[in-house]
Symmetry: C2
Subunit: 132 residues, 2 copies
DNA sequence: CAGCTTTTTAGAACCATTATAAACTAGTCT
DNA sequence: AGACTAGTTTATAATGGTTCTAAAAAGCTG
């Protein structure tokens, strides 16, 4: 299994459930955005056994902590995650709550001129809200 | 009362509670960021009577809808609002969850090269996460 | 396999937010 | 001013995403 190493590398034991989650998250041609709720639905659709919500939350958060998933800052009651962990940005379609990737090259360089002493910049995220 | 017109202008009747909320939100030298919880606390501290949570939510959302307040997209369990409604961005201090304003001039122009047909850009928001 | 630790699970708990329905208030008309 | 109507406030319940818990199950080491 190709994800065993990835999991071990993150300090996670390769359990059946985690491997199944890995397949749904990382075994795809394209990266995608999801909420826990959507992932849970996908699990129900594509996997025979059930995986409890607690496990899904635990696993997704573990991946997020290790950098295998990114959280996307959006104003929503649900948390959005992204399997695309490259440095990029997002469109947010207000009408349906869907996200669309915006490559870094589509935005151009962002130069933060203000400095906060004692602090380092961890990430710069641009959210472009779309309306009709 | 200087807020009566502002409220009427937004289609809101100038009630005692709304005027009190206006004073706390807009009668300050500096703009500031807040969560509903923090605003509720401030109301308890500075106002004799109580204002129910429902009224606070309703009023804040009405102002947000009319553009007198802005919501800030952050990954948090609580919604952050900003009384600074000028076009600007934010630092987000991961350690304490506090926000710091970033003037537009501190970020430089952002040119979104990608277009989504049938959609207009409503806003562009930059969130700069800070760590130690 | 035995023993120990981690993980999974269902369900409860939590907490921000939203909905509800009754009491109240503002604005208007006479 | 009195009374009517529509909008508002309030306490409380409901909702829903997320986190916690404790017991059962599975992984790992020797």
């Amino acid at each position: 299994m190709k994800y065993i190493e990835k999991l071990r590398n993150s300090g996670l034991r390769p359990t059946k459930q985690r491997l199944q989650i890995c397949e749904l998250l990382f075994d795809t041609e394209k990266t995608f955005h999801f909420t826990i709720n959507e992932l849970n639905q996908k699990i129900k659709d594509k996997i025979d056994n059930k995986i409890s919500l607690a496990t899904i939350y635990n696993t997704v958060h573990a991946f997020e902590k290790k950098g295998y998933l990114k959280q996307i800052p959006v104003n929503s009651n649900q948390t959005y995650f992204d399997t695309n962990i490259t440095d990029h940005h997002h469109f947010y379609n207000l009408k349906d709550g869907k996200l669309i990737d915006l490559e870094k090259s589509d935005v151009g360089p962002i130069n933060i001129k203000k400095k906060i002493d004692g602090k380092k910049i961890k990430s710069i995220e641009v959210l472009v809200k779309l309306e009709d």
